[in-house]
């Protein structure tokens, strides 16, 4: 435990630095000279955040784009080689296909499950508790969730006791144990289940709030017209919550594109389960292929670019209305 002391010291330094920075900024703003006071205050409030954004995100992102056209040691220009590798190499094509499967399946299925659950527990007894059950995985780290599911998927030889729930169920119905994590191509599907398990709670919370916001008059009118549950959902609820559904799908899509922790913790990207985010980490930080890693990062960026453009459009129209 002789390692504890320097850590606690660092923690203390961190907290002291926090108070120092906040104190100095507020002091600068307070004591600003009358002339140009407005400017000084603006700079004191805004500059620290903008500086960090520039140093920590903006400039590095631009440098990553440049690195993606360079070789492994960033000293030679290789043109589009890194991108060509990405689309022609067998392994990396597998990775792109896997990523596509993640991005298609996770948002749609997590949203579907979340919506279904939000509807069936709406106004039910114990709704808050029922919500907390499904929402809880949101608080669990992806690493923790991966270990939970790795345990569920564990496989033992057929004549041993199964200790994983999934294989126990298979054995109970008379099937052979199955290697859920090791056998491609379906193992990717079983990893995708983990992220659906986590994201469904998010979808449920947002959509439940949207369902509750549907006007009571409209629902009452529909009920008086004698519509059944399905018609109510199809013609009343769904049209009203469509914007919320779009937000949920977009958010989960962004999260899914960058899914790294699950693959890394369960299979380490072996057994043909790699995705862009794990390949990026391996290339840039394990194999020392900085150019290829950067090209994969740029690919991630290009994939979310349409979302950025769309969201900025939405935001600008909102701000103009105000």
């Amino acid at each position: 435990m002789n390692e504890t002391q320097p850590k606690l010291l660092m923690l203390m330094y961190g907290i002291i630095a926090f108070f120092a920075v906040v104190g100095i900024l507020l002091l600068v703003v307070d004591r600003a000279p009358k002339r140009g006071r407005e400017k000084v205050q603006l700079v004191a409030f805004l500059a620290p955040a903008l500086l960090l954004l520039a140093v920590g995100l903006l400039i590095p992102a631009i440098r990553t784009v440049i690195l993606s056209f360079k070789g492994p040691f960033s000293d030679t220009w290789v043109g589009l080689d890194n991108y060509a590798w990405m689309f022609t190499n067998g392994d990396s094509r597998r990775i792109l296909l896997n990523t596509a499967a993640w991005v298609v399946l996770v948002p749609t299925l997590a949203t579907t499950v979340g919506l279904l659950y939000a509807i069936v527990i709406d106004k039910a007894r114990g709704e808050a508790f029922a919500k907390a059950l499904v929402f809880m995985p949101m608080a669990i780290s992806l690493v923790g969730a991966s270990i939970i599911w790795k345990f569920v998927y564990t496989v033992r030889p057929a004549d041993d006791n199964q200790i994983g729930l999934a294989n126990q169920l298979l054995v109970l119905v008379g099937l052979e144990p199955y290697r859920f994590l090791q056998d491609p191509p379906w193992n990717t599907l079983f990893l995708i289940v983990i992220l659906i398990w986590i994201q469904a709670g998010f979808a449920m919370v947002i959509l439940s709030a949207a369902i509750k916001a549907v006007s009571a008059d409209v629902i009452e009118a529909a009920r008086l017209d004698g519509v059944n549950a399905w018609q109510m959902f199809r013609n009343v609820t769904l049209p009203s919550i469509r914007p919320a559904v779009v937000v949920v799908m977009v958010t989960i899509t962004i999260t899914t594109l960058k899914a790294f922790d699950i693959v890394r913790t369960t299979t380490g990207g072996q057994f043909e389960t790699g995705v862009v985010a794990t390949a990026l980490y391996d290339q840039a930080f394990v194999f020392g292929e900085v150019g290829k890693g950067s090209a994969l990062a740029v690919l991630l960026f290009v994939l979310v670019l349409p979302i950025v453009v769309y969201q900025v459009g939405v935001l600008r129209s909102q701000r103009e209305i105000r």
Binding site: L11, F45, A139, V227, V247, A277
Partner: protein
């Protein structure tokens, strides 16, 4: 709302049932849908809780039991032990988790990061909302866009910044910080704070910009500085928004693997719980006595905070955060 009402009335026109049959079939149908609803709710709730319950129960079973049979045997053959926890937390043998130290690392990484992110984001959000300057709109839109940009775009150059400093051509203008041992926490803090500012500024701006303008105007008329307005008017009012961003930020940093892996690496003096657990899952993937108790140790803090402050968390989610 009007668009939603239109299809309903046209629907009802088509679905005219014989008057006598309506109450009967209506009631049967209602029962069926409510039974379907109950079954669906129960099935989903079970699927969403049983995996965690299995992990939790296993973490208290003796290691030999975990190896011998599944956790459901606990109900017929209950045997409880805390050995897994004491072993994974405190045992000094190299193969065990030694998680106590990593737990502390997680705390040291998380606390200053949350504080700094909150303060800097709140300042910036206030400036964008209430200190008029040219281009405020564009700054806000730029920050919003950064929110969606994958942080993967920044990793390699940011790591190089820490290892090589800043050079123009061949001349090194800012040398690399020589960080040893626990000092390396600083790089993890820096990375986390940078990556969380876009969503933080966005969330807090949504809230701060909705504050009543008359309050600010009146205070400005009285000659109050922005610092005073921020401390005495804004800060007391944005408590809930600060709370929801603080929870976001806490969960994000505590649960993060990627940033920690790159900026703290496998360094046991700095690496958080997530890094160590991922490592154990890779190298000791079948030793579930360690994995289950270890995973539970990492889960318990965020789950408690989450349950206690769920209200604020949900409010934050509804305010629209797309963490990048």
């Amino acid at each position: 709302m009007t668009t939603a009402a239109a299809p309903v009335s046209s629907q009802s026109g088509a679905a005219v049932a014989p008057p006598a049959a309506v109450p009967m079939s209506g009631r049967v149908k209602k029962k069926l849908t409510s039974r379907f609803a109950t079954v669906t709710a129960v099935v989903i709730a079970v699927l969403w809780t049983v995996p965690t319950a299995g992990l939790f129960i296993s973490s208290f079973r003796p290691a030999n039991d975990i190896r011998a049979n599944g956790w459901w045997n606990f109900f017929t053959d209950p045997a409880v032990t805390l050995d897994n926890y004491s072993e994974v937390l405190f045992s000094t043998s190299a193969g065990s988790g030694q998680l106590a130290g990593y737990f502390l690392n997680s705390v040291v990484i998380t606390v200053p990061t949350v504080l700094f992110a909150l303060a800097l984001a709140a300042f910036a959000a206030y400036a964008i909302a209430w200190i008029p300057f040219r281009g405020a709109s564009w700054v806000f839109i730029g920050i919003f866009a950064l929110q969606i940009v994958p942080l993967q775009m920044a990793l390699v150059p940011l790591l190089r910044l820490f290892s090589e400093g800043v050079s123009i051509g061949e001349t090194n203008i800012i040398p690399a910080p020589e960080l040893i041992g626990a000092q390396r926490f600083a790089t993890v803090w820096f990375a986390h704070v940078c990556f969380s500012l876009p969503i933080g500024i966005f969330l807090l701006h949504n809230f701060i910009s909705e504050l009543p303008g008359e309050l600010m105007e009146a205070a400005r008329m009285d000659g109050a500085s922005h610092s005073r307005i921020f401390r005495q008017i804004v800060l007391p009012l944005i408590g809930p928004a600060l709370a929801s961003f603080a929870i976001f930020q806490f969960l994000w940093v505590w649960n993060d693997l990627l940033v920690a892996l790159i900026f703290a690496g496998g360094n046991p003096q700095v690496a958080p719980l997530t890094v160590r657990l991922a490592e154990l899952a890779g190298t000791r993937g079948e030793e579930f006595q360690r994995l289950t108790s270890g995973a539970f140790i990492s889960i318990v803090v965020p789950v408690i905070i989450f349950l206690a402050l769920q209200r604020y968390f949900v409010r934050g989610l509804l305010a629209g955060g797309l963490k990048g």
